[in-house]
Structures are given as C-alpha cells and as structure tokens.
Symmetry: C2
Amino acid sequence: MFTIGRLARRTGAKVQTIRYYEEIGLLSKPPRSEGNQRLYGEQEVDRLAFIRHARELGFSLAAVRDLLSLSDSPGQSCEAADVIARCQLEAVEARIARLQSLKRELERMIEQCQGGKIADCRVIEVLSDHNQCLTENHTDAAVHS
Amino acid sequence: MFTIGRLARRTGAKVQTIRYYEEIGLLSKPPRSEGNQRLYGEQEVDRLAFIRHARELGFSLAAVRDLLSLSDSPGQSCEAADVIARCQLEAVEARIARLQSLKRELERMIEQCQGGKIADCRVIEVLSDHNQCLTENHTDAAVHS
DNA sequence: CTAACATCTATAGTTGCTGTAGATGCAAGC
DNA sequence: GCTTGCATCTACAGCAACTATAGATGTTAG
C-alpha cells in the first residue's frame, strides 16, 4: 500500500487530479492510514492509468465513466464500448478536418503577410474580410441556434 | 442603431456572449437607450465578427485581444500579427498530428472489436494495455511536471 | 391594453482540472 | 526527543470561454 504521491508518480497524474477523480466518483474512496492519508494498491494504479490513457485519447470523463462501467461487467457484449469508440473516432475525424481547413487559411494569411504595415496586413485583413463573409451569411433572416 | 439581439443575429454570436465580451473588455460599453438597452452600430458588427472569426480559427481570446490592439494601430509593422498567426499555425499543426495518431489508435481498437464479450474486447483491452505502457514509463524514478 | 417576446442584472453552472492556504502527518538527522 | 522539511489533508478559489437561469423590466403587435 502506498500514498497518493506515489500513485501520482506512477501514473503521471497530479495529486489533485486523483483527489478530483475520487470526488466525482471515478475512483472509489480508498482506505486511510492512521494519520488519515489515502492508501492505494496496484488495482488503483491500473484503474487510474486506464483513465489517463483514455483521457489522452480524447475521451470525455463521461465516456471514461461508461468505459469503466463496461469493463466492470466483462460478461456482457462489448457493443457499447464499440459505439463509444466509434463516436470518439468520428469526433476526432471531424476535428482533424476542421483543423486542416484552419491550417490552410492560416497559411494563406501568413504567406500574404510580407512584413508591411498593419494597414496592408493580410492577417488582419483576412480576419476582417471574413467578417464580410460572416455578415453576408448571418443576416437577420438567418436562424442560428 | 440596433439592440443586442440584432447584433447577435447578424454575427452569429449569442447575446450572453456579447455581454461577456463587453465584461472582459473586448467590446467597449455601448450607449444605452432610454430603457437602458444597449445600442450598437455597424462598427460593432465588424469588431464582433472579427472576434468570432478569429475564435473560429482557434485563436484564444488573449490572441484576439492582441490582434485587435494591432489592428487599432494600422501604421505599425505587422510583424506582431505575423508572429501570432505563425504561433497559431504551429499549434494547429501540432493538434492535427496528435489527433491523427489518436485516429489511428482508435481505428485499430475498433477494427479488433468483433462484437464479442467485454472480457475479450479490444477497446477496453487497448486502453488497459496502454496502462502497462504507462506504468512502465512512469516509474517512481521518473519526474513528471 | 394586454400578451408575448426581448433585454436587463446578477449569479451559478459547465468541463477538467490546477493552484492556494493553513493545518497536520511523517521520516531523517542531530 | 526534537527540529526540519517535505507530503498530505481539507476546503475553497480560479482558469477558459462561454452558457444558462431567475426575476425584473422594456418594447412591440394585435
């Protein structure tokens, strides 16, 4: 059995993050030492590392919670886990596509910025130009959520 | 002169977001009507659309603030704007690279999940397997910020 | 004139943590 | 046995960048 600091060092999570996960119920309340310090075992290392890895893959804490509850019932179909992973994949693909169009736009901006004065700066201008495009598209008539 | 709702509709921003931008000083306090309602003109449409477009391009509000102050002094060199844009481009490229490796990992996970039981589920397993990789890399000796 | 909607202020909530303060616990050195 | 210094404890505040709510007013169409 070891303390929270050791658990943190072994998983790469911060101490406060571990206490936060306990608070929101992702980790169960561990036994305490005589001096009221949390005591953890190997099981907690695994569970926390699982959480951290899923987080690094971009899963939300809600998704992590679902995945954990799935892995706690190993006899059932893993269809639900598959659905979560596919959802995540779709979200990642959408983010990539979006970022790539941003990248192209930024590259165009930078390319056209030749160290001149701000009055002629493409970076500022592109942002302003798209204002035009925005104001054209977002008229009073258009409905936006 | 028009009210906040019209400004919101014309720029695609939410009413609360506009008030929030005013609160944090991105938009200046507009004149009010007799009934204490905010009144805006075309200038505010431009400025807000500029902000929204920059935000959509992934610039932080701090970066937007810098870009706005730059565009307020059009006689100066646009080097600073270029630096901000280049920074943003780098960040976008890093995010794309990261997301693409996540995508590959997720695809591997899903591919190997054949609708079996959770005990054999690759989605869960991959997350757990990487736990191993995590616990190997993050030993007590390793220092993590 | 009234109903329905817009706007007002102020405040709390969201996600996923991170940082702080001030009080204890604990292990090592003298 | 005592001090020093770090680790841990609780509780709460703060971050980004909004979003949502409550309850009070303003405004406008029929």
